[in-house]
Symmetry: C2
Subunit: 161 residues, 2 copies
DNA sequence: CTAATGTCTCTAGTAACTATAGCTTCAAGA
DNA sequence: TCTTGAAGCTATAGTTACTAGAGACATTAG
């Protein structure tokens, strides 16, 4: 079933003349790719506003929840932290403001990603060196163990790690 | 009573006639670069064996603790998980065995590091693209917000993330 | 109507520590 | 010897971003 069909369906079942799109938590989950417990968790920590409830106490979401959750999900996929997402959401709620802050958050995140990459690159170099040095003998003579045991970093490219 | 006397005392109480060097937790911390609470934590989770205690109930470490903690620390610096370190320690306690398993653990870790790098590289590409697209206008028109809000990944290099 | 699936709340667990509180012990100076 | 400050002790809780489970209620397909 497509989104549009679901929306129409929801409208019909609510017998509403107005175009009220609504979703259960499961539908929202399928639409956004967020797991159901994750959606409830986002509500709990205040990332996603509390939705209305049906007669049977089940959550009823609207279009704005879908958009917001999709935003959150996409941001998480790009590695933004909850704190950063909170700021991004707050800023995106003020369309008239200049977007400098938004760009700054994204840039800062990019810097951090670059930093993580360079750290991992040096780990990679160390690990390759270590794995390469292993001659496949006994543990006693293993260069991997040697390297790890040598706290003076005698076998390391750098002692920075 | 001086430190030296206490150490001798501890050595005696440990039944050792040999000149066993011993350390307080603070000394161990300085030697290895592990913070004091981290050392206690490693003991708690069973990575580091329980040391002896002085008359005043303070931990008294020996050379073997120093070596083992240094090993742990170096492994952590290279990104090995606690579970991996546990295996490495277990294996290194059997010097007669072949070292194939050790190398396999290191190789597996290397693979994982490579995987993380490639993931971060694609995040980096996305983020650069996004940051670049921002023209510095109002939030309303910000391409960063656009990109994040678009769950269809219309502005993304790939939708894989 | 019934069975299956979906949803509810609440609690606790994950990795790998870090921080805090309130206490005791130790080393060294006056 | 007294005292003061640093170091050490235990125990608990917080961090990030969820995930898993238990046990009860709601909804829906056949
Ligand atoms: Zn080897
Ligand atoms: Zn090293
Ligand atoms: Zn912008
Ligand atoms: Zn995308």
């Amino acid at each position: 079933m497509t989104v549009a069909q679901k929306i129409l369906d929801a409208e019909k079942t609510m017998g509403s003349g107005k175009s009220v799109e609504s979703f259960t938590i499961g539908q929202l989950s399928r639409e956004t790719g967020c797991k159901v417990p994750t959606i409830r968790y986002y509500e709990q920590i205040g990332l996603l506003p509390e939705p209305g409830r049906s007669a049977g106490n089940q959550r009823v979401y609207g279009q704005q929840h879908l958009s917001r959750l999709a935003f959150i999900r996409h941001s998480r996929e790009l590695g933004f932290s909850q704190a950063e997402i909170r700021q991004l959401l707050e800023l995106s709620d003020h369309p008239d403001q200049p977007c400098a802050e938004i760009n700054a958050i994204a840039q800062k995140h990019l810097d951090e990603v670059n930093h993580r990459i360079s750290r991992l690159e040096s780990l990679k170099a160390e690990l390759e060196r270590m794995v390469h040095a292993c001659q496949g003998g006994k543990v006693e003579d293993c260069r991997v163990i040697d390297t790890l045991a040598d706290h003076a970093h005698g076998n390391c490219l750098t002692a920075e790690h």
